[in-house]
Symmetry: C2
């Protein structure tokens, strides 16, 4: 009984720190519920949920106005299917959660309301359609709610919470910014309003107050600089002082201020969340300890047998040697029990990605030892491991880059392509021959995987293309495009051979997972704005191919656009006629430039709203996130965060810290370790032919790093706050009141 409860707590603690699950909520603990919970969190179930969320979102592609039209019946059946899946998922969740908790959680209520709204709207729309009455499918705006509220997208919810917390402060800055904008507009009206100046298009310049406000708002985004200044500048050079003051105050200072507010809140919030997680984990581990403890001398401890049983229950897929290692660390002096301090570390221990490197011989060494061990083979392997081998291939990549840039027409150059492909394949084969293949394609060998995939994709595509060309005399442009891109991507590898670039690249690779969160966030905002945009601006602008004879083809099918910058810039394809082009237009608006041209007319408010939400808030959060990720990376460069556990693994002589060793050295090291073991005949009982490698810094997430940093700050005695206190920790209370860390915050 005690073990089951302890297991549950330990599981919860392990999950908390896993940063994947949100086990803040007390779950049911019956075996049935636990089984259901495991099923709920099974990767297949989660992938299926994501699939239906994205299917539901992508329905907008097939509904009117459609990119690929499907009959209404088909899309509505799909939508009902999605909604049923969501309902099923929610029911599943209800089964594993305590009832009062389930019904208190706003996100569950949210999902239910969204399902209900969607069904109602679908029914109304269907009925009206039968009577040929066209109505608006307003419930489509609700669809992103599923993406936000399903438990799997915890990161997105966190981002939304962070935005919500930032809003009050952003609002104050925004009001001040608007005040400044209105003041400057008033000055502009007074200074230029009665000068009868004209813009480059011959329109009246700065006559109407609201137009001035809009023009100056656009100037803040720098999109209409210097055009908006030119008429005043032509009139008198002194008037540029007005615009310089405007740009300094509004573009530089206020926009930085927005970034400062967003960043400050982002960080405060991040710290608070991580603090909560750390407290929660500590708390749960202590509870588990209290359930399992027995008295031993003067202290309470957990005995070895019980401890092992627990670990087997909690982490059934760890190898027994891994468990041995964990015990070695927890029961340092081999006393046969684990004390409180070490027990509390267990959740962290389980979370450390310890890769068991079986010191394996190369398969060829086992199969054909004579050949593999022969002098030429050894020489070859030594050559491949030599630095010069890397340099040679770096040189080859550079030459290849030149060949790619050269004209493709000459037959010699297309032959050269085959030569390069062959060289790259030889490189991979040589490396696999030299290094142990399972190690070479290890989970953490990002560049090896990258290389191999790119080269084999290129090989396949090139062969396919050549076959098509020679047999069907047909040149597939799509395949060619892919071949081109793959060829260029091959060149990226050169970056990894320079140490300084590696640091930057590692951080960039690290932030990819979190960037997906921003992808989700952007998707939500884009979906909402695209659906609104399609309702408002659908069909206003038409795109005609270059040689079309349609009336108003040059004015994008809209006579009002005659002679506009929009038509002159050939922007006709930037329209809201379907979901896909709406997304592209919104992307252009995110980049900001020319947005006043892209949407002229009554769309101004729509665009200001989009600018505030997307550029001022979300892009700034994105920038904050990147800034933070690099600050963490830079600070780690100096002070390596090394926990007691890692040190212990090192002490036991079973650790290989990947960062400290080049990949080649690592493998050399392994081989020598192998010889040593053979020679000594296993004098180290713990190692049993294993080397533990701590998953390298390169593959740690920013979250995990921050969490570890914070944990170092909590003293062990601090059993901390109760669950309720932890859950209600506010960002302000969470920040420790130390002036030095404040100042740097």
């Amino acid at each position: 009984m005690a073990e089951a409860a302890a297991q549950d707590l330990l599981l919860a603690a392990a999950f908390v720190s896993d940063a994947q699950y949100n086990r803040n909520i007390p779950f049911k603990t019956s075996p049935e519920a636990v089984r259901l919970y495991h099923l709920y969190n099974h990767w297949m179930m989660r992938i299926a949920t994501y699939f239906f969320i994205f299917l539901n979102l992508s329905l907008a592609l097939f509904e009117e106005p459609a990119v690929y039209p499907l009959p209404f019946l088909a899309t509505s059946v799909l939508e009902v299917l999605c909604l049923l899946v969501f309902l099923g998922r929610l029911t599943h969740f209800a089964k594993v959660t305590l009832h009062n908790v389930f019904w208190k959680d706003t996100k569950n209520i949210c999902i239910m309301v969204a399902i209900l709204l969607s069904l109602t709207d679908l029914a109304i729309y269907g009925v009206l359609r039968m009577y040929d009455v066209r109505s608006i499918r307003w419930s489509r705006i609700v669809r992103p709610i599923f993406l936000i509220n399903f438990a799997e997208s915890r990161q997105i919810r966190r981002a939304f919470r962070s935005i919500r917390n930032t809003l009050p402060e952003i609002t104050y800055v925004f009001l001040l910014f608007m005040f400044s904008l209105l003041m400057f507009s008033l000055m502009a009206l007074k200074l230029f309003g009665e000068r009868n100046l004209q813009t480059a298009e011959g329109l009246p310049y700065f006559r109407n107050y609201l137009e001035i406000v809009f023009d100056l708002y656009v100037l803040v985004t720098t999109a209409n600089s210097p055009d908006v200044m030119m008429p005043a500048f032509d009139f008198s050079s002194w008037y540029t002082l007005f615009f310089i003051a405007f740009v300094i105050i509004n573009t530089y200072i206020f926009m930085s201020l927005f970034l400062a507010v967003v960043y400050n809140n982002y960080k405060k919030h991040l710290k608070n969340e991580i603090r909560k997680l750390a407290y929660m984990k500590r708390r749960k581990m202590i509870e588990a300890f209290n359930l399992l403890k027995e008295e031993e001398g003067e202290q309470f401890v957990v005995r070895e047998a019980r401890w092992k049983q627990l670990v087997k229950l909690v982490a059934p897929d760890t190898s027994s040697s891994h468990r041995e290692l964990l015990l070695c660390i927890s029961d340092d002096e081999q006393k046969g029990f684990v004390d409180k301090k070490s027990f509390v570390q267990l959740a962290d221990l389980l979370n450390i990605q310890v890769v068991t490197l079986r010191v394996r011989r190369h398969p060829l060494a086992r199969w054909v030892p004579a050949l593999y061990g022969s002098a030429p083979s050894q020489l070859l392997r030594r050559v491949v491991r030599h630095r010069a081998f890397v340099w040679t291939y770096d040189a080859i990549i550079l030459i290849n880059a030149i060949f790619i840039a050269l004209d493709e027409e000459s037959p010699y150059i297309s032959y050269a392509e085959w030569v390069f492909l062959a060289l790259y394949i030889i490189e991979i084969l040589l490396k696999v021959y030299t290094y142990e293949p399972r190690e070479f394609f290890g989970k953490t060998q990002f560049w090896n995987w990258f290389d191999t995939l790119i080269i084999f994709a290129a090989l396949t595509a090139t062969i396919l293309n050549a076959t098509l060309k020679s047999t069907l005399k047909y040149n597939s442009q799509q395949i060619l495009d892919i071949v081109f891109i793959l060829r260029v991507l091959r060149l990226i590898r050169i970056v990894d051979s320079i140490q300084r670039f590696q640091v930057i690249m590692n951080t960039l690779i690290n932030i990819v997972p979190t960037m997906l969160t921003f992808g989700g966030l952007t998707l939500v905002v884009y979906c909402v704005f695209a659906i609104i945009g399609m309702e408002l601006f659908h069909g206003k602008i038409q795109y005609f191919p270059a040689n079309s004879n349609a009336p108003h083809a040059l004015e994008c099918g809209n006579p009002a656009l005659k002679d506009s910058l929009f038509a002159r810039g050939k922007y006709c394809k930037n329209n809201f006629n379907n979901f896909a082009s709406s997304f592209i237009v919104l992307m252009e608006l995110t980049v900001v430039n020319q947005w006043h041209d892209i949407l002229s007319g009554p769309a101004k408010l729509y665009f200001i709203a989009f600018h505030i939400v997307m550029v001022i808030i979300i892009v700034n959060i994105f920038v904050s996130f990147i800034l933070e990720a690099f600050f963490v990376e830079y600070s780690l460069e100096k002070s390596e965060v090394e926990t007691a556990i890692e040190r212990k693994i090192q002490e036991l002589g079973m650790g290989v810290q990947e960062d400290e060793l080049q990949y080649e050295q690592l493998l050399d090291n392994m081989e020598s370790a192998e010889h040593e073991l053979e020679g000594e005949g296993g004098t180290k009982p713990q190692s049993k032919g294993l080397v533990f490698k701590i998953a390298s810094k390169r593959y740690r997430t920013v979250d995990a790093l921050l969490q570890r940093m914070f944990e170092a700050e909590i003293p062990l005695e601090d059993e901390g706050l109760s669950f309720e206190e932890i859950l209600n920790l506010s960002p302000t209370s969470a920040v420790p009141r130390s002036p030095s860390s404040e100042s740097t915050a």
Copy 2:
């Protein structure tokens, strides 16, 4: 002898913390040298130096190509004069510095070389000119060196040092960014190069590799979005994916990365400088103590008489009551001597801006006590102090804003202007009647000064304008413009009545002084680029007024610009024909938008160079600075940094912390204190009718705040490092190795 030396050290310590002087350098200590040193630092001398630096820089306005042409003889005489002044200043500096130190300092060598170069170039140019040979005045680029290297512009030098330190890291990121740019360009060449696509202007699209690189570089700055994408988008919507990937990686990630690197270095550097200052001050104070100390019981102390003498020597302009206060704080228990700990604080004590608020009666209360104390007068004063009085004037300001926005033509509205002016003047008079005038116009009453100046300037200008109009029937546009601007500026005051806005406004006001540094930095970069730009592009583009009949007037006098976007946008005035328009063009380039249009042709490299220096480095430093200023401000909102000194002043009951009290309350408080004193007949010997007010947070600089924060971290026992060690503190060693502050750094 000991006193003189101690005084010198104390002076030095006070100066160090003053952040105005750079007394890192051992100075001569003879009385003659000290006199010379004081002369050197006299404000007149410093203003004169600045005057000549700016005169020297502004010579570019009068030299060929000139805004206001002056004969060569005049400008060269002025230049020689400036150079002589610089030489004089340098000689003066040499007189107060130790010889070996003077000659080791690169900035002195720099100035000498610059003077020599300028003179040589001037001579060569003059001689060649006599023989009518035109040569380039290349030494003009050297002129900003004087701005950078004169000791007064320490802030600018610090900024340059910070840039120099950032360069290596920036370079790595930049190389990686260039690599990414080249890769994408290669892909673009392969994907679009052979499609025969055309841009909106009918030019070939993405054919030439170098042009692609340039176009994509421009896209990173977002200046040609979405134009650069449109031909590919028209061809196939899928190609937008290429541009989306490009923008995410290069515009969002790499540009944020630049900001991260710059910010990280900026902060590291700032911390290091402040750490150095704090150590230096501590060290000098301890040295001074050791010179003056006498044995008292078991400890060394400085006796009261000696201490007073020292303070009088060091800070001759403090009032005796201020000195009494300082002694009260230093000699807490009135033992007749000051111990080491308190002595070390003296430099800080002297630097705290303690404003001695003499509890003064209103002058009218002294002159006409019967009238001022009468019931109607008291009622009036109570009305003025009431919150409703502020609200009434806020309402008046809003109504005024509406009137300003309305048309000026109607006579009623121009009468209304007089009414508003009268109302504002009445407000100021009422306030002066109610509050003590010297207090109302105190040094720290920013808004009172602002109000009064704006209103009286507006009054003067309006009267001047009305007089000109009625007597000479002449409407001066300049005066009218000023009146308009002043009228609008009056409205700003409304912001100060909302508490939340005040925090933001205070920070904005706080950063103004440091922004001047960036002004200096920008000036240096602009000068260099303007001078190069004038040599390269002078006369390439001509500006013609709107109705000119000159040939190629529409093409800015350059047939090559026919049908270009440059000519179509009427950008002709954006040229490098003189120093002033060069500055305006560079400003436009700093804002970035349209820069590819503003400078087409061979100017690409010039612009990429400018973009890297100005936008990637300097604007990012500026943004970093604003971010830091707001982070400090936000962190102070929560944890008020209160030193022992301030607490002491509070304890003694002589402090009034302005922030805690509304201005009105403060004055009320003062009056009640006055009554109390009268009643009690001076039972508190220290107060002597004085209240000390600690200069409010609002007027502290970011530097001072950071310094104070850091000082709290140094323990008193830490006599710290030697001078050499302090001077050689590197940014990395300076950062304390605490993981928590690292993580937040």
